[in-house]
Point group: C2
Chain length 350, copies 2
């Protein structure tokens, strides 16, 4: 079953990638994660392989009887190829560390990829939900429902409940970057205990003006306070971006339009293109579409391109291993084809 | 009449710009010029204004009775605006010097712009013919016909017949530039007494891999020898370019295709663009079309864009004066519109 579940991910974009959520012009997705550990088994780092196997079988069994995860698949790391694991990491479904994990571990994946359970990462369970757009509450409610359902089947250790929540919002802030206000905004974010990361997560460089804002620590805060704090601060950042967009539209409309359309022209015509260049160009086009001055492209297609053009995704889509040079050609073809497709009806505006 | 003749040039591209001549993939146009002076009047530099006026009236009268120039117009410099003169200079119909000429001088323009007579530049008459593509003989025959017709009505001074012929071929050599063989080729050209200039003529920088190859001096050579020498050497240069194209197509097909299509994507999407950038991008697209790997554009449209996007041309087309910033926007719009037009049926292949 594992390979079928994974191939479904390849052929069909995740639900959160197929719809435009609230504030889609500013926010790509919202993600909430809860870490849990089983009460009677040592933490993953100190657990024996046998104990880790027990964790896997208990968690999988609990997941299968959870209504929220019903019909899902368990992908055991040991049964996946290196490429499959890279694919899951690119989709943010498993961590980079888990790509090279050799002990019993895996990913339980609900239909539609809305909720997932990483098994035997640093914690026994990491429950994650992702939704399109800026909707922390919805993601938070969803992950809590999964947690409650699993809680009835598993016995969680609650001694360290605080600090087990991570929420993050994946935002697009081109105007703050262009108006050079981004440094100040990022400094403000870290001063209130939140973290900002680049496109690919921890330690990654800033690409395409995409940022992940997340809570850095939940110590001293309840889970509700953590969620509310992230929500409030992110909203302030988004408001700053909206103000900067208005200024740019007023003062540099033509330059922005030119930049946006040139990016679209390159994206829709290149025959060889790197993943980084795609991110930067998609960022510019996405900006134009969000401003309402852009070319005829929709945010959902652009968001999907960010995910689909990563190396393992390309190779899964192409159903073969590819060198970097081959990927650069395949990527350019994929981008051209996707941009040429008729646009789906836009979702409800935010 | 003068303004009508000039406006016709604005609205309708010249015949040589509307057709694809022989070797259109390598050569944009061929130009032959003959200088003549009237026997009984001092050279322009030493002539009195009254004498220059006499030259104008005699030459115009002779032109009007010349079958080759029949139906043409005389554009008196004194009656033209600064913009109109710039326009004629951009079209290579008058020299840069003539733009600021305050004494009696002008341009006689045959219908279709195939033959022109510049009056009172350094010489009393400079007869010029331009043809599309690489066809020196045709241009040479045409200018000789005009010269013979005028010779029957005017008395030319023939004491210095040698040195009064200038022929030039406007070539596109992207492969020699890309393969870094261009320096060697240019050195070879100047060693056999020919000159190479950039896009805009004397002293201009090399833009878009376009070059003008011309005879530097005709001293010691008959007019026929001059023509034959230019033809022979240019043919060798074109053969070197064709060989380099074959090599590139074999060894760097994908990179060339990528470069060509990116250039097309930018040209067809930019909202603000400089004249220099248009030349460089048109060069890349023209290269792709010439190689048969290019986007759906035709050489004639691309050649026209090189001419039409120059500053005075834009202002004549837009029927108003424009700042540089306004021109950059108008230019981008013009380029997009022209590239989006349906392509004319291609002319006979060379």
């Amino acid at each position: 079953m594992s390979s079928a579940g994974l191939n479904q991910l390849v052929d069909k974009p995740s639900r959160w990638l197929s719809e435009a959520g609230p504030n889609a012009d500013l926010v790509l997705s919202t993600r909430v994660r809860l870490a849990r550990n089983l009460r009677d088994i040592p933490f993953t780092q100190r657990a024996a392989e046998e104990e880790m196997g027990i964790v896997v079988s208990r968690v999988v069994s609990a997941c299968q009887s959870s209504p929220s995860l019903a019909g899902g698949d368990f992908l055991a790391m040991g049964e996946l190829t290196e490429l499959d694991r890279q694919f899951l990491a690119e989709r943010h479904l498993i961590s980079r560390e888990m790509v090279s994990e050799v002990r019993p571990a895996g990913l339980f994946l609900a239909a539609g990829e809305g909720a997932t359970v990483m098994v035997n990462e640093e914690d026994h369970l990491r429950l994650t939900t992702v939704v399109a757009g800026f909707e922390i509450d919805r993601a938070w409610e969803a992950v809590r429902r999964v947690e409650e359902e699993l809680d009835s089947a598993l016995e969680f250790a609650y001694s360290e409940e605080l600090g087990y929540l991570t929420a993050s919002v994946f935002v697009h802030l081109p105007s703050l970057v262009l108006t050079k206000r981004i440094r100040q905004v990022l400094r403000g974010i870290s001063q209130v205990g939140l973290a900002v990361r680049g496109f690919y997560g921890e330690g990654s460089e800033i690409l395409g003006n995409f940022f992940q804002i997340s809570n850095q620590t939940t110590l001293g805060l309840s889970e509700r306070e953590t969620i509310e704090n992230l929500e409030k601060v992110t909203r302030q950042v988004l408001e700053a971006e909206v103000r900067a967009r208005r200024v740019l539209l007023k003062e540099a409309h033509l330059q922005i339009e030119d930049k946006v359309f040139r990016a679209y022209g390159t994206l829709s015509h290149a025959r060889v293109i790197s993943a980084h260049e795609v991110i930067n160009l998609v960022s510019a086009v996405r900006f134009g579409v969000a401003l309402g001055i852009g070319p005829e492209a929709d945010l959902t297609t652009l968001n999907q391109l960010l995910v689909m053009t990563q190396p393992a995704h390309l190779q899964k889509l192409g159903k073969r291993e590819m060198t970097e040079a081959e990927r650069n050609v395949f990527r350019a073809t994929l981008v051209r084809e996707r941009l040429a497709e008729p646009h789906p009806t836009p979702g409800p505006a935010s």
